[in-house]
Amino acid sequence: MGTAVQYHFLYFAPGIGARWFFEGAQRYWQTFRPIVTYDLNLIEYTPADESVVVTTIARSDTADFVREEMQKRFPSVRHDALVYDYVNYVLLTLEARAEQNHPFGRPLGQ
């Protein structure tokens, strides 16, 4: 699987309400226990030599903003971007990840 991830963040983009977390990500969080946040500044506190993954959840109207922020501010951080306009799709995706024990989605070829 490669280098073990030291820090895993679950970031909700601006405009995403709490329902997306409480209804869409409960099992995912209980399985993988990422740091859940609306604040990308927290990523600045991760040591440069540690492996960091940020799973972002954004709607289509803020997806570009999130992608640009991640590229500009944290180019060496692995960006696991999820873009959905409905909380039900978030739920389906994150439930599947929890079920299959793949916090960042099943890698290609597996």
């Binding site: 820090y7 329902r19 990422p34 740091i35 859940v36 506190y45």
Partner: protein, 480 residues
Amino acid sequence: MNLNEYRWSLNPRGMHSALNYLNIELLSRHRFGWAKIVALSDGEIALAENAMRENITPIIRIYRERPGNAPVDSLALQQYQQYRDAGVRWFEHYNEPNLDIEWPSGANKNPNDRAVVGPLMDNWLAWAEFIISIGGYPAFPSLADVNDGTHLDTISWIRGMLNYLFDVHYERFRTVLNNGAYIAVHPYIANHFYQEMPNGGPTSARPPHLQNADEGGWHFEYPYDPINQADDPGRTVYGGTPLAPFGDTVSLLGSTTVIHDLLREMFGVGAIPFVGTEGGIPPPVGLEDVRQQDNRYPPYTWYSHAEATAAMFDWIATTAPPWFFGVCLWKFDEYYLTASGELPVGTRLAQKPPMIKPVPALPALGDIDAVVFETPVADPDHHFVFLVPNFETAWFFQQAETYWDTFKPSLLSDLEFLGNIPPEKTVAVTAITGPDMVDWLTENISERWPHIRLDVIIVDQPQALGQQLAQRVLIGRRLG
């Protein structure tokens, strides 16, 4: 001595005996945490032991008729020792010396006369030192709330007693305060409380039939609540307005506020316990009895009294100052043995788990301003929510959505991340825990990172978590 070193149930719900009678089994079923027992002699030792077995903290007062300012007699001292030997810690003796009934007929009762308060304080201090010497906690005399400028006047009595102690027994009194004393108060609050209408704003008040102790929006901070401040701006517990020339202490925290202010100012007190050894919302006497002592506030009924009393106890746990430990409702027969039967409040309390009072390690003497009175004018740079190990995470997902949506904290699973944050950043951690992990939190957060503000929510039921978070949302305060 620190505030959290006092030993008690941590449950602010209390009941006063009917003379020397209490049904402990009933109090246990209705989830009380205090039992104030007026003892005629040593005959209530078994009652006190029974209470302690049920994790109900007894407070013992040996009854004396019209004691005035006389010294505590030797028989009473022997009996206090017997109760202490049985495990009781909390004691009270002088009761409402501002009332005529507590003095021999014809006695001088002028609180401004040192010939009156001097012997009272001399004798109280001697008794308090005795109680401390046997390992107990002595109560500073309670007063009835009267704001009329006469010889009964509460604030006059408070000032008279404390001024005498300041002038004559300064160090002795500070020693007593620092070694287990507490302050007895009698907060009979009339109808000085209300619950906001949903989305109605801070001066909206639900009628009695809509009041619900499981919902937020309750106000017990009279006279500082929005309704009173809108009606009489600037009124304080000291009065300060033409409508309240002699003060206004008829409320849950009225006398507590005055006494605590003066203790801080005069004796350098930080935090010592205040316990309502009588008080509460005076119960209706029957199904048709509707009480409205102050027509600026809604009345209460036989049924709404239960909601308000339950809410009052929750408010004490979540919102009252950390040194306010609870109230013993006056009194058992008026709640349980009425002509109309048992008041609904007992059943309501049985349904509703008590909220445990979080008690921080504040010193009895010393500066607590930075800890308690800091006004968080700005949110911290980073606010985390942390669920202690083995906490039932489903409760969080059931109860915290609105709080989360309002304040958008970050959810932390591993405390080690806190060590990455530069110390110049302000950080607060709202830790949600059961009662058994508070020490763990202190060791793993406060002791490791003293600059981090630890905000603890202690719950043993999911509904309790929901209520505490809902209250914070309602008052717009992310931290407790």
